[in-house]
Point group: C2
Chain length 239, copies 2
DNA sequence: GGGGGTGGGTGACGGTCATCACGACCCGGG
DNA sequence: CCCGGGTCGTGATGACCGTCACCCACCCCC
Protein backbone atom coordinates (compact mmCIF):
# COMPACT_ATOMS: atom_id res chain seq x y z
CA UNK A 1 0.00 0.00 0.00
CA UNK A 2 1.16 3.51 -0.73
CA UNK A 3 2.05 5.50 2.34
CA UNK A 4 2.70 9.11 1.48
CA UNK A 5 4.08 11.42 4.19
CA UNK A 6 4.95 8.40 6.32
CA UNK A 7 1.33 7.45 6.95
CA UNK A 8 -0.19 4.01 6.90
CA UNK A 9 -3.47 4.53 5.14
CA UNK A 10 -6.56 2.81 6.48
CA UNK A 11 -8.13 1.97 3.18
CA UNK A 12 -11.66 1.03 4.14
CA UNK A 13 -13.96 2.26 6.88
CA UNK A 14 -15.48 -1.22 7.02
CA UNK A 15 -12.27 -2.71 8.35
CA UNK A 16 -11.10 0.31 10.37
CA UNK A 17 -10.26 -0.86 13.86
CA UNK A 18 -10.67 2.54 15.43
CA UNK A 19 -14.25 2.90 14.29
CA UNK A 20 -16.05 1.88 17.47
CA UNK A 21 -14.56 4.64 19.59
CA UNK A 22 -15.50 7.45 17.22
CA UNK A 23 -18.78 9.29 17.46
CA UNK A 24 -19.43 9.69 13.80
CA UNK A 25 -17.80 6.61 12.34
CA UNK A 26 -19.61 3.98 14.37
CA UNK A 27 -22.48 3.58 11.91
CA UNK A 28 -24.66 0.56 11.11
CA UNK A 29 -23.27 -1.55 8.30
CA UNK A 30 -25.67 -0.44 5.58
CA UNK A 31 -24.89 3.22 6.14
CA UNK A 32 -21.20 2.48 6.36
CA UNK A 33 -21.26 0.71 3.05
CA UNK A 34 -22.98 3.67 1.45
CA UNK A 35 -20.48 6.02 3.02
CA UNK A 36 -17.66 3.88 1.72
CA UNK A 37 -18.91 4.43 -1.80
CA UNK A 38 -18.91 8.21 -1.71
CA UNK A 39 -15.79 8.95 0.32
CA UNK A 40 -12.34 9.67 -1.05
CA UNK A 41 -9.48 8.58 1.18
CA UNK A 42 -6.75 11.20 1.00
CA UNK A 43 -3.53 12.07 2.78
CA UNK A 44 -1.99 15.45 3.52
CA UNK A 45 1.44 16.51 4.72
CA UNK A 46 1.91 18.71 7.75
CA UNK A 47 0.94 22.29 7.04
CA UNK A 48 -1.66 21.53 4.38
CA UNK A 49 -4.81 23.64 4.27
CA UNK A 50 -8.02 21.62 3.96
CA UNK A 51 -10.25 24.64 3.60
CA UNK A 52 -10.21 28.35 4.25
CA UNK A 53 -12.84 30.37 6.06
CA UNK A 54 -15.12 32.13 3.64
CA UNK A 55 -14.91 29.46 0.92
CA UNK A 56 -18.22 28.01 -0.09
CA UNK A 57 -18.43 24.46 1.21
CA UNK A 58 -17.12 21.69 -1.04
CA UNK A 59 -17.88 18.95 1.44
CA UNK A 60 -16.85 17.31 4.70
CA UNK A 61 -13.50 16.04 5.86
CA UNK A 62 -13.51 13.13 8.30
CA UNK A 63 -10.24 13.18 10.16
CA UNK A 64 -8.85 9.66 10.53
CA UNK A 65 -5.29 10.32 11.64
CA UNK A 66 -3.29 13.34 12.71
CA UNK A 67 -4.31 16.70 14.15
CA UNK A 68 -5.79 19.73 12.44
CA UNK A 69 -5.65 23.33 13.59
CA UNK A 70 -9.03 25.07 13.34
CA UNK A 71 -8.75 28.83 13.32
CA UNK A 72 -10.33 32.10 12.35
CA UNK A 73 -8.41 35.06 11.09
CA UNK A 74 -9.11 38.79 11.11
CA UNK A 75 -8.56 41.16 8.21
CA UNK A 76 -5.39 42.49 9.81
CA UNK A 77 -3.82 39.05 10.03
CA UNK A 78 -4.47 38.24 13.67
CA UNK A 79 -5.28 34.56 14.14
CA UNK A 80 -7.40 32.86 16.75
CA UNK A 81 -7.14 29.10 17.14
CA UNK A 82 -10.48 27.65 18.17
CA UNK A 83 -9.41 24.12 18.65
CA UNK A 84 -7.06 21.38 17.63
CA UNK A 85 -9.19 18.72 15.97
CA UNK A 86 -8.43 15.09 16.80
CA UNK A 87 -9.09 11.90 14.82
CA UNK A 88 -12.77 11.02 14.56
CA UNK A 89 -13.94 14.58 14.12
CA UNK A 90 -15.82 15.72 11.06
CA UNK A 91 -14.50 19.03 9.75
CA UNK A 92 -16.49 21.49 7.68
CA UNK A 93 -19.69 19.82 8.76
CA UNK A 94 -21.83 22.80 9.67
CA UNK A 95 -20.94 24.71 6.52
CA UNK A 96 -21.66 21.66 4.40
CA UNK A 97 -25.05 21.16 6.03
CA UNK A 98 -26.13 24.79 5.94
CA UNK A 99 -24.53 25.70 2.62
CA UNK A 100 -22.98 28.82 4.15
CA UNK A 101 -19.26 29.47 3.79
CA UNK A 102 -16.81 27.58 5.99
CA UNK A 103 -16.58 29.43 9.29
CA UNK A 104 -13.04 28.32 10.04
CA UNK A 105 -9.77 27.55 8.38
CA UNK A 106 -8.47 24.00 8.74
CA UNK A 107 -4.73 23.39 8.57
CA UNK A 108 -2.98 20.12 9.32
CA UNK A 109 -0.27 20.18 11.98
CA UNK A 110 0.67 16.53 11.51
CA UNK A 111 0.65 14.33 8.45
CA UNK A 112 -3.04 13.45 8.23
CA UNK A 113 -5.34 10.91 6.72
CA UNK A 114 -8.69 12.32 5.78
CA UNK A 115 -11.85 10.97 4.19
CA UNK A 116 -13.40 13.58 1.97
CA UNK A 117 -17.03 13.50 0.86
CA UNK A 118 -18.49 15.90 -1.69
CA UNK A 119 -21.33 18.07 -0.47
CA UNK A 120 -24.02 16.72 -2.84
CA UNK A 121 -23.05 13.14 -2.10
CA UNK A 122 -23.08 13.80 1.60
CA UNK A 123 -26.47 15.50 1.62
CA UNK A 124 -27.96 12.66 -0.39
CA UNK A 125 -26.38 10.19 2.00
CA UNK A 126 -27.97 11.99 4.95
CA UNK A 127 -31.41 11.97 3.40
CA UNK A 128 -31.16 8.25 2.85
CA UNK A 129 -29.69 7.31 6.20
CA UNK A 130 -31.56 8.76 9.13
CA UNK A 131 -29.20 7.20 11.65
CA UNK A 132 -26.20 8.92 10.10
CA UNK A 133 -28.17 12.13 10.19
CA UNK A 134 -28.54 11.76 13.91
CA UNK A 135 -24.78 11.28 14.25
CA UNK A 136 -24.34 14.50 12.38
CA UNK A 137 -26.62 16.25 14.85
CA UNK A 138 -24.53 14.84 17.68
CA UNK A 139 -21.30 16.04 16.08
CA UNK A 140 -22.74 19.47 15.55
CA UNK A 141 -23.90 19.62 19.16
CA UNK A 142 -20.40 18.73 20.21
CA UNK A 143 -18.95 21.50 18.10
CA UNK A 144 -21.48 23.98 19.37
CA UNK A 145 -20.64 23.03 22.91
CA UNK A 146 -17.01 23.60 22.16
CA UNK A 147 -17.68 27.00 20.68
CA UNK A 148 -19.65 27.95 23.78
CA UNK A 149 -16.71 27.09 25.96
CA UNK A 150 -14.52 29.23 23.80
CA UNK A 151 -16.95 32.12 24.09
CA UNK A 152 -17.04 31.72 27.84
CA UNK A 153 -13.28 31.70 28.06
CA UNK A 154 -12.85 34.70 25.78
CA UNK A 155 -15.76 36.74 26.99
CA UNK A 156 -15.88 36.18 30.70
CA UNK A 157 -12.24 36.15 31.68
CA UNK A 158 -10.71 39.12 33.39
CA UNK A 159 -7.14 38.50 32.39
CA UNK A 160 -4.84 36.57 30.12
CA UNK A 161 -3.56 34.70 33.17
CA UNK A 162 -7.04 33.36 33.83
CA UNK A 163 -7.37 32.12 30.27
CA UNK A 164 -3.98 30.45 30.30
CA UNK A 165 -4.78 28.73 33.58
CA UNK A 166 -8.04 27.46 32.10
CA UNK A 167 -6.24 26.15 29.05
CA UNK A 168 -3.59 24.35 31.06
CA UNK A 169 -6.22 22.76 33.28
CA UNK A 170 -8.17 21.64 30.25
CA UNK A 171 -5.05 20.08 28.73
CA UNK A 172 -4.14 18.44 31.99
CA UNK A 173 -7.55 16.78 32.03
CA UNK A 174 -6.61 14.55 29.13
CA UNK A 175 -4.53 11.39 28.88
CA UNK A 176 -5.82 10.08 32.17
CA UNK A 177 -3.79 12.69 34.00
CA UNK A 178 -6.98 14.29 35.22
CA UNK A 179 -7.10 12.64 38.59
CA UNK A 180 -3.44 13.05 39.45
CA UNK A 181 -2.40 15.63 41.98
CA UNK A 182 0.48 16.77 39.83
CA UNK A 183 -0.58 16.12 36.23
CA UNK A 184 1.98 16.04 33.47
CA UNK A 185 1.39 17.21 29.93
CA UNK A 186 3.12 17.65 26.59
CA UNK A 187 3.38 21.16 25.26
CA UNK A 188 2.82 20.47 21.57
CA UNK A 189 2.37 24.11 20.63
CA UNK A 190 4.63 27.14 20.51
CA UNK A 191 4.05 30.16 22.71
CA UNK A 192 2.80 31.94 19.64
CA UNK A 193 0.15 29.30 19.06
CA UNK A 194 -0.88 29.24 22.69
CA UNK A 195 -1.28 33.00 22.49
CA UNK A 196 -3.53 32.53 19.49
CA UNK A 197 -5.61 30.04 21.42
CA UNK A 198 -6.34 32.42 24.28
CA UNK A 199 -6.43 35.61 22.25
CA UNK A 200 -3.36 37.32 23.60
CA UNK A 201 0.19 38.08 22.47
CA UNK A 202 3.20 35.82 22.35
CA UNK A 203 5.12 37.99 24.83
CA UNK A 204 2.31 37.80 27.36
CA UNK A 205 2.34 34.01 27.19
CA UNK A 206 6.08 33.92 27.73
CA UNK A 207 5.80 36.28 30.69
CA UNK A 208 2.94 34.29 32.20
CA UNK A 209 4.89 31.06 31.95
CA UNK A 210 7.87 32.74 33.58
CA UNK A 211 5.70 33.91 36.45
CA UNK A 212 4.06 30.51 36.89
CA UNK A 213 7.49 28.95 37.13
CA UNK A 214 8.69 31.57 39.59
CA UNK A 215 5.65 30.94 41.76
CA UNK A 216 6.39 27.19 41.62
CA UNK A 217 3.00 26.45 40.09
CA UNK A 218 4.45 24.73 37.08
CA UNK A 219 7.77 23.24 36.16
CA UNK A 220 9.02 22.36 32.71
CA UNK A 221 11.63 20.11 31.31
CA UNK A 222 11.93 20.05 27.56
CA UNK A 223 8.46 20.02 26.13
CA UNK A 224 6.83 18.29 29.10
CA UNK A 225 5.19 20.42 31.70
CA UNK A 226 4.46 19.39 35.25
CA UNK A 227 1.71 21.08 37.21
CA UNK A 228 2.97 21.28 40.75
CA UNK A 229 0.17 23.28 42.28
CA UNK A 230 -3.14 22.47 40.68
CA UNK A 231 -5.07 24.30 43.38
CA UNK A 232 -3.29 27.57 42.66
CA UNK A 233 -3.95 27.12 38.97
CA UNK A 234 -7.64 26.53 39.61
CA UNK A 235 -7.72 29.65 41.71
CA UNK A 236 -6.23 31.62 38.85
CA UNK A 237 -8.78 30.13 36.48
CA UNK A 238 -11.42 31.72 38.65
CA UNK A 239 -13.13 28.67 40.07
CA UNK B 1 -59.13 30.67 24.03
CA UNK B 2 -57.11 31.51 27.09
CA UNK B 3 -54.54 34.22 26.53
CA UNK B 4 -52.26 34.58 29.50
CA UNK B 5 -49.79 37.50 29.60
CA UNK B 6 -51.67 39.18 26.77
CA UNK B 7 -50.68 36.57 24.19
CA UNK B 8 -52.85 35.01 21.53
CA UNK B 9 -51.87 31.39 21.63
CA UNK B 10 -51.42 29.53 18.36
CA UNK B 11 -52.87 26.26 19.43
CA UNK B 12 -51.78 23.89 16.70
CA UNK B 13 -48.68 23.77 14.54
CA UNK B 14 -50.81 22.30 11.75
CA UNK B 15 -52.74 25.53 11.36
CA UNK B 16 -49.93 27.92 12.24
CA UNK B 17 -49.69 30.55 9.53
CA UNK B 18 -46.12 31.45 10.29
CA UNK B 19 -44.86 27.94 9.72
CA UNK B 20 -43.58 28.26 6.19
CA UNK B 21 -41.05 30.97 6.99
CA UNK B 22 -39.43 29.07 9.85
CA UNK B 23 -36.51 26.75 9.34
CA UNK B 24 -37.49 24.10 11.80
CA UNK B 25 -41.28 24.27 11.70
CA UNK B 26 -41.77 23.77 7.99
CA UNK B 27 -42.00 19.98 8.18
CA UNK B 28 -43.88 17.49 6.03
CA UNK B 29 -47.35 16.74 7.31
CA UNK B 30 -46.68 13.32 8.78
CA UNK B 31 -43.80 14.63 10.89
CA UNK B 32 -45.79 17.67 11.89
CA UNK B 33 -48.63 15.49 13.11
CA UNK B 34 -46.24 13.44 15.20
CA UNK B 35 -44.68 16.60 16.57
CA UNK B 36 -48.12 17.90 17.43
CA UNK B 37 -48.69 14.88 19.62
CA UNK B 38 -45.61 15.29 21.77
CA UNK B 39 -45.41 19.05 22.16
CA UNK B 40 -46.81 21.10 25.01
CA UNK B 41 -47.90 24.61 24.08
CA UNK B 42 -46.97 26.93 26.94
CA UNK B 43 -46.82 30.63 27.64
CA UNK B 44 -44.39 32.62 29.77
CA UNK B 45 -44.43 36.18 31.06
CA UNK B 46 -41.54 38.55 30.49
CA UNK B 47 -38.56 37.67 32.67
CA UNK B 48 -39.27 33.95 32.90
CA UNK B 49 -36.35 31.54 32.83
CA UNK B 50 -36.80 28.60 30.46
CA UNK B 51 -33.63 26.87 31.52
CA UNK B 52 -30.37 27.60 33.26
CA UNK B 53 -26.89 26.74 32.07
CA UNK B 54 -25.59 23.64 33.76
CA UNK B 55 -29.00 21.97 34.15
CA UNK B 56 -29.26 18.59 32.56
CA UNK B 57 -31.47 18.86 29.49
CA UNK B 58 -35.20 18.36 29.98
CA UNK B 59 -36.04 18.93 26.34
CA UNK B 60 -36.35 21.52 23.60
CA UNK B 61 -38.23 24.80 23.50
CA UNK B 62 -39.52 25.96 20.13
CA UNK B 63 -39.99 29.69 20.32
CA UNK B 64 -43.24 30.71 18.60
CA UNK B 65 -43.67 34.27 19.79
CA UNK B 66 -41.60 36.79 21.70
CA UNK B 67 -37.85 37.13 22.23
CA UNK B 68 -35.55 35.20 24.53
CA UNK B 69 -32.21 36.31 25.92
CA UNK B 70 -29.55 33.60 25.64
CA UNK B 71 -26.64 34.16 27.99
CA UNK B 72 -23.77 32.61 29.88
CA UNK B 73 -22.72 33.69 33.31
CA UNK B 74 -19.42 33.49 35.17
CA UNK B 75 -18.97 32.45 38.77
CA UNK B 76 -18.49 36.05 39.84
CA UNK B 77 -21.81 37.15 38.38
CA UNK B 78 -20.63 38.67 35.12
CA UNK B 79 -23.05 37.94 32.29
CA UNK B 80 -22.44 37.62 28.58
CA UNK B 81 -25.40 37.73 26.22
CA UNK B 82 -24.78 35.52 23.22
CA UNK B 83 -27.85 36.34 21.30
CA UNK B 84 -31.47 37.38 21.41
CA UNK B 85 -33.46 34.46 20.05
CA UNK B 86 -36.33 35.22 17.68
CA UNK B 87 -39.49 33.25 16.88
CA UNK B 88 -38.82 30.06 14.94
CA UNK B 89 -35.65 29.18 16.82
CA UNK B 90 -35.30 25.96 18.77
CA UNK B 91 -33.75 26.54 22.17
CA UNK B 92 -31.86 23.96 24.17
CA UNK B 93 -31.41 21.87 21.06
CA UNK B 94 -27.76 20.95 21.27
CA UNK B 95 -27.95 19.98 24.93
CA UNK B 96 -31.03 17.88 24.26
CA UNK B 97 -29.34 16.07 21.38
CA UNK B 98 -26.03 15.47 23.12
CA UNK B 99 -27.36 14.90 26.62
CA UNK B 100 -24.83 17.33 28.06
CA UNK B 101 -25.99 20.17 30.31
CA UNK B 102 -27.55 23.25 28.75
CA UNK B 103 -24.72 25.55 27.68
CA UNK B 104 -26.73 28.74 28.06
CA UNK B 105 -29.39 30.31 30.17
CA UNK B 106 -32.63 31.26 28.40
CA UNK B 107 -34.70 34.10 29.80
CA UNK B 108 -37.73 35.67 28.12
CA UNK B 109 -37.62 39.41 27.53
CA UNK B 110 -41.15 39.56 26.11
CA UNK B 111 -44.23 37.55 26.90
CA UNK B 112 -43.55 34.37 24.94
CA UNK B 113 -45.30 31.40 23.47
CA UNK B 114 -43.22 28.27 23.49
CA UNK B 115 -43.69 24.68 22.41
CA UNK B 116 -41.93 22.38 24.79
CA UNK B 117 -41.00 18.79 23.93
CA UNK B 118 -39.58 16.33 26.45
CA UNK B 119 -36.16 14.94 25.65
CA UNK B 120 -37.17 11.27 25.30
CA UNK B 121 -40.12 12.16 23.14
CA UNK B 122 -37.98 14.38 20.97
CA UNK B 123 -35.23 11.82 20.48
CA UNK B 124 -37.78 9.18 19.55
CA UNK B 125 -39.37 11.62 17.15
CA UNK B 126 -36.00 12.25 15.50
CA UNK B 127 -35.30 8.57 15.04
CA UNK B 128 -38.63 8.10 13.34
CA UNK B 129 -38.53 11.18 11.15
CA UNK B 130 -35.35 11.52 9.18
CA UNK B 131 -36.48 14.75 7.57
CA UNK B 132 -36.96 16.41 10.93
CA UNK B 133 -33.54 15.18 11.90
CA UNK B 134 -32.09 17.05 8.97
CA UNK B 135 -33.86 20.21 10.10
CA UNK B 136 -32.25 19.76 13.46
CA UNK B 137 -28.86 19.53 11.80
CA UNK B 138 -29.63 22.75 9.95
CA UNK B 139 -30.66 24.52 13.13
CA UNK B 140 -27.53 23.36 14.88
CA UNK B 141 -25.39 24.56 12.00
CA UNK B 142 -27.07 27.92 12.28
CA UNK B 143 -26.34 28.08 15.98
CA UNK B 144 -22.77 27.03 15.45
CA UNK B 145 -22.36 29.70 12.84
CA UNK B 146 -23.67 32.23 15.26
CA UNK B 147 -21.31 31.12 17.99
CA UNK B 148 -18.39 31.44 15.57
CA UNK B 149 -19.35 35.01 14.83
CA UNK B 150 -19.44 35.70 18.53
CA UNK B 151 -16.02 34.16 18.96
CA UNK B 152 -14.68 36.26 16.12
CA UNK B 153 -16.13 39.42 17.58
CA UNK B 154 -14.87 38.70 21.08
CA UNK B 155 -11.53 37.27 20.18
CA UNK B 156 -10.32 39.28 17.25
CA UNK B 157 -11.42 42.79 18.11
CA UNK B 158 -8.90 45.31 19.30
CA UNK B 159 -11.26 47.55 21.18
CA UNK B 160 -14.73 47.87 22.63
CA UNK B 161 -15.46 50.53 20.02
CA UNK B 162 -14.86 48.00 17.27
CA UNK B 163 -17.26 45.52 18.84
CA UNK B 164 -19.96 48.12 19.36
CA UNK B 165 -19.64 49.26 15.76
CA UNK B 166 -19.99 45.65 14.61
CA UNK B 167 -23.08 45.19 16.73
CA UNK B 168 -24.74 48.34 15.47
CA UNK B 169 -24.04 47.40 11.88
CA UNK B 170 -25.46 43.95 12.45
CA UNK B 171 -28.60 45.43 13.97
CA UNK B 172 -28.92 47.95 11.19
CA UNK B 173 -28.89 45.09 8.71
CA UNK B 174 -32.32 43.94 9.81
CA UNK B 175 -35.83 45.20 9.10
CA UNK B 176 -34.96 45.95 5.52
CA UNK B 177 -32.88 48.90 6.64
CA UNK B 178 -29.78 47.20 5.32
CA UNK B 179 -29.64 48.94 2.00
CA UNK B 180 -30.41 52.41 3.26
CA UNK B 181 -27.67 54.97 3.44
CA UNK B 182 -28.81 56.11 6.87
CA UNK B 183 -30.43 53.10 8.50
CA UNK B 184 -32.70 53.53 11.48
CA UNK B 185 -33.03 51.06 14.33
CA UNK B 186 -34.80 50.56 17.64
CA UNK B 187 -32.59 50.28 20.70
CA UNK B 188 -34.51 47.60 22.57
CA UNK B 189 -31.77 46.99 25.12
CA UNK B 190 -30.27 49.01 27.94
CA UNK B 191 -26.62 50.10 27.92
CA UNK B 192 -26.01 47.45 30.53
CA UNK B 193 -27.33 44.74 28.23
CA UNK B 194 -25.43 46.04 25.24
CA UNK B 195 -22.30 45.92 27.38
CA UNK B 196 -23.07 42.31 28.18
CA UNK B 197 -23.42 41.55 24.50
CA UNK B 198 -19.98 42.85 23.60
CA UNK B 199 -18.23 41.85 26.79
CA UNK B 200 -17.47 45.26 28.20
CA UNK B 201 -18.73 47.52 30.98
CA UNK B 202 -21.83 49.67 31.08
CA UNK B 203 -19.78 52.85 31.47
CA UNK B 204 -17.74 52.09 28.39
CA UNK B 205 -20.90 51.68 26.32
CA UNK B 206 -22.25 54.98 27.56
CA UNK B 207 -18.98 56.72 26.75
CA UNK B 208 -18.80 55.15 23.31
CA UNK B 209 -22.32 56.28 22.46
CA UNK B 210 -21.45 59.79 23.63
CA UNK B 211 -18.41 59.84 21.37
CA UNK B 212 -20.34 58.48 18.38
CA UNK B 213 -22.87 61.25 18.83
CA UNK B 214 -20.18 63.90 19.18
CA UNK B 215 -18.57 62.68 15.97
CA UNK B 216 -21.95 62.85 14.22
CA UNK B 217 -21.84 59.17 13.37
CA UNK B 218 -25.11 58.41 15.09
CA UNK B 219 -28.04 60.41 16.33
CA UNK B 220 -30.71 59.29 18.76
CA UNK B 221 -34.18 60.37 19.59
CA UNK B 222 -35.94 58.40 22.26
CA UNK B 223 -35.19 54.77 21.69
CA UNK B 224 -34.68 55.06 17.93
CA UNK B 225 -31.21 55.45 16.64
CA UNK B 226 -30.22 56.86 13.29
CA UNK B 227 -26.92 55.95 11.70
CA UNK B 228 -25.76 59.05 9.92
CA UNK B 229 -22.35 57.88 8.80
CA UNK B 230 -22.36 54.21 7.96
CA UNK B 231 -18.94 54.42 6.32
CA UNK B 232 -17.32 55.71 9.51
CA UNK B 233 -19.00 52.95 11.48
CA UNK B 234 -17.71 50.33 9.08
CA UNK B 235 -14.25 51.78 9.40
CA UNK B 236 -14.47 51.47 13.17
CA UNK B 237 -15.66 47.87 12.80
CA UNK B 238 -12.37 47.18 11.10
CA UNK B 239 -13.51 46.34 7.61
C1' DG C 1 32.36 27.38 10.99
C1' DG C 2 29.09 30.67 9.45
C1' DG C 3 24.60 32.17 8.35
C1' DG C 4 19.61 32.13 8.43
C1' DG C 5 15.31 30.92 10.40
C1' DT C 6 12.51 29.98 14.40
C1' DG C 7 11.24 30.17 19.03
C1' DG C 8 11.96 32.04 23.57
C1' DG C 9 13.13 35.89 27.17
C1' DT C 10 12.89 40.64 28.68
C1' DG C 11 12.65 45.79 29.23
C1' DA C 12 10.13 50.22 28.38
C1' DC C 13 6.10 52.72 27.22
C1' DG C 14 1.57 53.98 26.42
C1' DG C 15 -3.39 53.12 25.40
C1' DT C 16 -7.56 51.06 26.59
C1' DC C 17 -10.84 50.07 29.71
C1' DA C 18 -12.60 48.17 34.38
C1' DT C 19 -13.67 49.99 38.51
C1' DC C 20 -15.25 53.18 41.99
C1' DA C 21 -17.76 57.10 43.00
C1' DC C 22 -21.11 60.33 42.44
C1' DG C 23 -24.99 63.04 40.41
C1' DA C 24 -28.87 63.62 37.18
C1' DC C 25 -32.91 61.98 35.38
C1' DC C 26 -37.28 59.38 34.68
C1' DC C 27 -41.22 56.98 36.31
C1' DG C 28 -44.42 54.57 38.96
C1' DG C 29 -46.45 53.95 43.59
C1' DG C 30 -47.69 55.10 48.17
C1' DC D 1 -46.12 65.15 46.74
C1' DC D 2 -41.84 62.73 47.66
C1' DC D 3 -39.39 58.70 47.71
C1' DG D 4 -37.23 54.56 45.83
C1' DG D 5 -35.30 51.93 41.94
C1' DG D 6 -33.69 51.69 37.50
C1' DT D 7 -30.92 53.90 33.89
C1' DC D 8 -27.67 57.16 32.03
C1' DG D 9 -23.66 60.53 32.19
C1' DT D 10 -19.03 61.57 33.65
C1' DG D 11 -14.51 62.17 36.19
C1' DA D 12 -10.31 60.05 38.40
C1' DT D 13 -7.30 56.31 38.85
C1' DG D 14 -4.61 52.46 37.96
C1' DA D 15 -4.00 47.67 36.22
C1' DC D 16 -3.26 45.02 32.46
C1' DC D 17 -1.37 43.97 28.29
C1' DG D 18 -0.26 45.00 23.28
C1' DT D 19 3.53 46.69 20.87
C1' DC D 20 8.25 47.69 19.67
C1' DA D 21 12.88 46.67 20.19
C1' DC D 22 16.50 43.82 21.04
C1' DC D 23 19.16 39.69 22.37
C1' DC D 24 19.89 34.89 22.99
C1' DA D 25 19.75 29.93 22.18
C1' DC D 26 18.87 26.49 19.12
C1' DC D 27 18.88 23.78 14.98
C1' DC D 28 19.68 22.74 10.39
C1' DC D 29 22.00 23.10 6.22
C1' DC D 30 25.19 24.32 3.49
Amino acid sequence: MLSPYGLEIVESCLTCKLRAERIFCDLPNSALQAFENIKYATAYPKGAVLFVEGQSPRGIFVLCKGRVKMSICSTDGKTLILKIAEPGEVLGLSATVSGKPYELTAETIDPCQVNFVKREDFLRFLKEHGDACFRVAEQLSEKYNNACHEVRSLGLSHSAAEKLAKLLLEWSGRNGEAAKLEPRLKLALTHEEIAQMIGTSRETVTRLFAELKKRQIIQSKGSTLLIRNKAALKLMAGA
